[in-house]
Assembly symmetry: C2
Homo-oligomer: 372 residues x 2
């Protein structure tokens, strides 16, 4: 048993399988055996959801097929909200990745590589990149940074991507968004080799995520992080009402598609929704990625809901170290009064999202080495 989440009032433990002890005979293992031995990481199929047939009940009955009984979080008279600690989850994932990379290096002499393209001097982008590169180093992923000036041409950016595409030591390519306005984002993202699209933004990856029965090469990191957190929290997803707030390519869209593969009933709320709070108030699970501080107030939430706050909004504050602090989309203090679980900002989805980037890069390298 291990501590999974720290909470203000209690500790949660889980009974998930442990990472296997490092196998000293690793170098003797076949690729298939290797894959089996590193099964501590959640398989793609579990992240993509169970394959269930669409069988409707007899039409005269409106009730759905029999489902496993819901987890008991929602009926509690006394709510005792779990604060889901993303740092601990991320740390655990990173340590699994680090162990696997050490094995990989022993076997093949190679390590995964991540190519990062950063255009311009946006403070938030630079800060994200710093975090990502630091985490890469920590787990043993080599990172290569192509830093381009703000006034780079479209061709300059495409060339940087193309160089990483050709570099066999690079297994994942990350173009930090947003790009300066004069650069056609879609064109740059399309130029990334599909096999190195660790952000999962390529339309073919998005199509394969949308279509049940198909498997994308990569699932966008933030969407994967939301599902990973919910699965670790042991949240039931089948048949649950989920409101996704925001519909970006980075979070809202892929998260809504992934949740549908888990057979949740998904409503996507966005800036043009006429009654966003009415829809989210019906949701068992609320995933917010609108990018608006304190958008989700008390009256947007059902008692007992699980809240995943993907918003990471800088709010200016001269007293803070960097001149700003980060806050989520959800009014945290209000939410605490009625939810059953919530991810804080910072320290919630953010670190898990970066861990998923590392995981996608490792997966990609393993595919290249014939080990996945």
């Amino acid at each position: 048993m291990r501590v999974l989440f720290t909470t203000r009032r209690r500790l949660l433990v889980d009974s998930q399988p442990r990472p296997p002890a490092l196998n000293s005979l690793f170098s003797l293992l076949s690729p298939r055996k290797y894959a089996a031995e590193t099964a501590w990481r959640r398989s793609s199929s579990s992240i993509l959801g169970p394959d269930l047939p669409d069988v409707w009940n007899h039409p005269s009955s409106a009730s759905p097929p029999t489902l496993p009984s819901p987890s008991g979080n929602q009926g509690d008279d006394e709510l005792n909200p779990t604060i889901i600690n993303g740092k601990i989850i991320a740390e655990e994932i990173r340590s699994g990745i680090a162990a696997e990379i050490r094995q990989l290096k022993d076997v093949s002499g190679k390590v995964p590589g991540l190519g990062v393209v950063l255009v311009g001097k946006r403070r938030d982008s630079q800060s994200y990149i710093r975090h990502k590169i630091k985490d890469c180093e920590e787990v043993g992923i080599t990172s290569l940074l192509a830093e381009l000036p703000e006034d780079s041409s479209q061709d300059d950016v495409l060339n940087a991507v193309s160089k990483f595409n050709k570099d066999p030591s690079v297994h994942g390519i990350l173009v930090q968004l947003p790009l300066p306005k004069h650069i056609a984002e879609e064109e740059v993202l399309s130029a990334i080799n599909l096999e190195k699209d660790v952000d999962g933004f390529h339309p073919l990856n998005v199509g394969n995520l949308a279509l049940r029965g198909r498997e994308p090469l990569f699932i966008p990191c933030a969407a994967k992080a939301c599902i990973e957190i919910l699965l670790r929290y042991d949240a039931e997803l089948v048949g649950k009402n989920v409101a996704v707030i925001g519909r970006s390519r980075v979070v809202g869209l892929p998260t809504s598609l992934l949740l549908q593969r888990h057979h949740a009933t998904v409503s996507v709320v966005h800036a043009y929704s006429k009654n966003p709070e009415e829809i989210t108030r019906e949701a068992d699970i609320v995933i917010s990625a609108a990018g608006v501080p304190n958008l989700v107030r008390r009256n947007w939430l059902k008692r007992g809901a699980v809240v995943i706050d993907v918003g990471t909004n800088p709010v200016e504050d001269s007293r803070s170290e960097h001149g700003y602090y980060l806050t989520g989309d959800v009014c945290y203090e209000e939410a605490l009064q009625l939810v059953s679980a919530i991810t804080p900002v910072p320290g919630g989805v953010g670190p898990v999202t970066i861990a998923m980037l590392l995981s996608n890069t490792l997966e990609s390298a393993k595919r290249t080495f014939g080990l996945s």
Copy 2:
């Protein structure tokens, strides 16, 4: 002015632009001019929805950005439901397509071609194919039918697709689904040349449909038909609550993605939804494609809702000519008592869907001829 819909109690007229008179000087027109002259057909961008920025209001207010005022259909005290006549809409689209194909033939000596792959003897599939081929003939599209026996191998089916891929007279390829169980549907659909994927099921087309700012080569016909009907009905989509019932690749998934591009607030209800009737009851527009006769009862619908019934369910009936009759997902007589508009089955979405197949095939041919 012209009659657009026949209803039981009233006739609706619309003020959409008319197809331009056939231009006798057509053969002198440049491709660009040609495209402009055939603008009677709705442009892809209008089917794909307006490009609106995601600007959330100030967080303390839950209300969305200012929107155009809603159409007045829903507040009527006396409901006077419009029966949307898909046959008339389809006829109008077909006659536009036929005129354009005549022009195309005059200019280039060529006509669009549709390759159809039919495996086995399913009665419903044979009937669909008959309708599609008849409609092709009517508008001047050449159809080529590859009929394969039920026990064909995967390779036989792939060969049929490959032949159509290579045939320059074929601009669209349609594999009639479902395929026999021993054939891997995904593999067959993936084999269709992306430029000939008139059904729009290729993951790259689905990804480009999901991602705002991108344009798929083809939009799945039933989804396109639903939007075409709603746009002709002058239904407001921005900010409206839409419930999509069913999540198939053929209808539910692409329709939900397309509606999101029109800035509707979309909830996707499916066989595992715990309270489908509660969600659909909140919807201004209900699009049902579950394949279950009479699934949607009176208590699933809000007063004044617009109902698009994509279900086409054969119900055995020895008194019917073919041994069965067709019925939709929606309990029609119950719905009539409270909706503001509804598509009947048959004669609603079905004919418009086939018209969209013809339209996709023509678009594809025009792309090949450099005329789009």
